[in-house]
């Protein structure tokens, strides 16, 4: 994907809780919800369908809660974009994809921040990173999408 511009028009999870029902009909309301990976999951009770994007922020790739949060959001029926931002490893891309994420904004120390589209499905979580360097290596879908 070309552009992951959600710096404006975002809403923090604490504001989300305070929104009333009118939000559902307010076309000017923010359309991107930003949720930390260690947030309580009450936000799932809100009108998720009104959101264009939900962004989960990860401060630690080894804290795997964002995988389950993604799953819960999708199991709720949310069909908008789902993004993870922050500290994730390339080895986690496919697992993120399977858990319902569309893209990842990687912020790493090397100032090599980048947006990664997760819409290619690979055989194994992480294999795509190897495959990108070794395109001749054939992978097989293990999990049907």
């Amino acid at each position: 994907m070309d552009n992951l511009n959600f710096s404006e028009n975002t809403i923090a999870v604490n504001e989300w809780y305070q929104l009333d029902k009118e939000f559902e009909n307010d076309e000017n309301q923010a359309r991107v919800l930003v949720v930390a990976a260690d947030s309580a999951l009450e936000f799932l009770e809100g009108p998720l369908d009104r959101l264009e994007r939900i962004v989960i922020t990860s401060t630690d790739f080894n804290d795997g809660r964002f995988f389950s949060i993604g799953r819960q959001i999708r199991l709720r029926g949310y069909s908008g974009r789902l993004t993870v931002v922050g500290n994730v490893l390339s080895d986690q891309y496919t697992a993120l994809r399977f858990c319902g994420f569309d893209d990842a904004l990687i912020l790493d120390n090397s100032a090599n921040s980048r947006v990664v589209s997760l819409d290619k499905a690979f055989a194994l979580p992480g294999v795509e990173d190897s495959v990108a360097r070794n395109p001749e290596h054939q992978t097989v879908m293990r999990n049907s999408q």
Binding site: L41, G64, S68, R71, F98, L124, G126, V127, S130, V140
Partner: protein, 548 residues
């Protein structure tokens, strides 16, 4: 024995490819220590005291002779010629080079083996009753269910970065030989009042610093709901388990903290929203899995007619009594190969012995071998007419020691000899205790006593649930040992009671010997089990024996 499908093989091959790349990135500095750590751990690779240690999965403890030869080759080529069988039915190699691990994984993949999820904060190897499929009393063979869960848990996208490790064990029998109640999830196949088969589900068991007996979360789970229910438990744990303190991160702490009933409520809430269509990583069904299990029958019977001398007859009879047991198949017995000879570290086996046992398995047990929770091996089905020949072969190779279930059959962690977490040695303690009871008549007379030794409070040697448990502790740089009595690992799983203050290195073996001899002199008759005597006369009597 399960045979890989093309998909299974591709998955394992790709995992090798992936790990080779991860290792290369680490060695070239692209991945930091911190980044590589969970990646290597979820592929079974520890950094140990002397060298990297690789734990190889033996799913539910079932091995073919070909696989055992594969392990022998790895032991010889990359290690120091031996491997170590663990309490979770796996094998560890202790002297490897990190650079060579991808090659080792490639060799393993050639024999349908891997090291996936044998360590790290993910779902570990699925373990099982080692008599599954041959025990006449079991409700149903749990191995296909183990395999189904193994496939589901392998590389599960959602559950690779859990708060802490997660262990699942199965039994299909009312006699629990897999310590299922000491697991994060223990699954027992049962029949309900309507005669249907399903699972009794236990959650939150574990040993370590905080030993907890698992609690029953579901009295009867229909078999078709197994994966959905597991997913629900795992999700509640993944979202709510503590991540701020690794000693409080296991599911047992979460269940205790919020209470069993509220925990069950959360699981049910997630479970009700799952159906077979929404499950992740379910790529097969139980009938497909069952169809990939190779039947062990028929295999050739050798009809030996060897005669034994009178002296041999006595030793053979003892082996027959201690190391073999009947199966549900007429004329077929299971034969244990004890790895608890005082000459070896408990659970160790050399490459030569692996090949020898592989050969015996080819000849006598349909090329199948099993590993047990107690760190021994089992030839699952041997025709009765082959038993003499088998015993003779084992006897010549010094593998016929008849001590299964006895005071010599000690479960023991690697301890300070190998492990960087250990406070004390444990292997030498085991060997010294074994030597104190070296007389076979006495050993035989003592009956079943389980001694379990851990070299630190992480409890890999399961000391909490030994009839006699020994825990190594460090006191000002010296090795001391705490003794517990009355633990048990079976269906009535119980944490042992501490006998008293720790004893020093010079006293521990004598203390254990005194306890055992006191039991011997005070039991009502030869049929009175150690635990029965302990219950009858009380732990204080044993305190007096050890502390005066």
């Amino acid at each position: 024995m399960y045979n890989y499908s093309i998909n299974d093989q591709q998955l394992v091959d790709q995992r090798v490819f992936q790990f080779r790349d991860q290792t290369r990135r680490f060695l070239s500095g692209e991945l930091s220590d911190e980044q590589f750590r969970p990646l290597r751990l979820m592929n079974g690779l520890y950094i140990q005291r002397h060298a990297p240690m690789l734990r190889v999965a033996i799913p539910y403890g079932e091995l073919s002779s070909r696989q055992l030869r594969g392990l022998a080759s790895i032991a010889e080529t990359y290690d120091r010629g031996f491997g170590h069988f663990t309490t979770r039915q796996n094998i560890q190699f202790n002297w490897l080079q990190l650079e060579q691990v991808p090659d080792i994984l490639e060799e393993l993949a050639l024999v349908q083996m891997h090291a996936i999820q044998t360590s790290g904060s993910c779902i570990r190897n699925i373990t099982c009753d080692h008599l599954a499929g041959i025990d006449a009393t079991e409700v149903e063979d749990p191995r296909p269910w183990c395999e189904l869960v193994r496939q589901w848990a392998t590389m599960h996208p959602e559950f690779q970065y859990l708060p802490r490790k997660f262990k699942i064990a199965f039994t299909g029998s009312s006699t629990d030989r897999a310590a299922t109640m000491a697991h994060d999830i223990g699954l027992k196949l049962i029949k309900n009042s309507a005669g249907e088969t399903g699972f009794e589900v236990h959650v939150g068991g574990g040993l370590g610093r905080t030993p907890v007996v698992a609690s029953k979360i579901k009295a009867f789970l229909p078999k078709s709901d197994l994966l959905a229910y597991l997913e629900a438990i795992l999700r509640v744990y993944n979202l709510n388990g503590r991540r701020d303190n690794k000693y409080k991160a296991r599911i047992k702490i979460l269940v205790k903290a919020i209470g069993l009933d509220p925990f069950r409520g959360q699981v049910e809430l997630v479970f009700q929203n799952l159906d077979s269509k929404t499950l992740l990583n379910q790529n097969t069904d139980i009938s497909t899995v069952r169809s990939r299990f190779r039947s062990v029958f028929p295999f050739p019977v050798n009809l030996g007619s060897d005669k034994l001398s009178a002296a041999e007859q006595k030793t053979y009879s003892r082996w027959l009594e201690k190391n073999t047991l009947g199966t549900k198949f007429n004329n077929y017995k299971s034969a244990y190969i004890s790895l608890k000879n005082p000459d070896r570290a408990p659970g160790d086996l050399t490459a030569g012995e692996m090949r020898f046992i592989a050969q015996l398995a080819d000849k006598y047990s349909g090329s199948l071998i099993r590993t047990t929770h107690t760190q021994n091996l089992l030839l699952p089905l041997v025709h009765e007419s082959d038993l003499v020949q088998l015993w003779q072969a084992l006897n010549e190779a010094n593998l016929s020691i008849a001590n299964i279930g006895t005071v010599q059959d000690i479960i023991c962690c690697p301890g300070l000899d190998f492990c960087s977490l250990a406070n004390t040695t444990s292997i030498p303690i085991a060997q010294e205790i074994q030597n104190r009871f070296g007389d076979t008549d006495e050993l035989h007379a003592l009956g079943d006593i389980q001694i379990k030794i851990s070299g630190c409070m992480n409890a890999c040697g399961h000391h909490h649930i030994g009839h006699i448990g020994i825990l190594g502790v460090d006191k000002r740089g010296e090795e001391w040992f705490q003794i517990t009595l009355g633990g048990r690992a079976d269906q009535s799983l119980k944490i042992g009671e501490r006998l008293g203050p720790a004893v020093d290195r010079n006293s521990i073996v004598s203390a254990v010997e005194s306890i055992v001899r006191y039991y011997l002199h005070n039991r009502l008759n030869q049929g009175e089990h150690f635990l029965t005597t302990l219950d009858r006369i009380g732990i204080d009597a044993f305190k007096a024996v050890v502390y005066g």
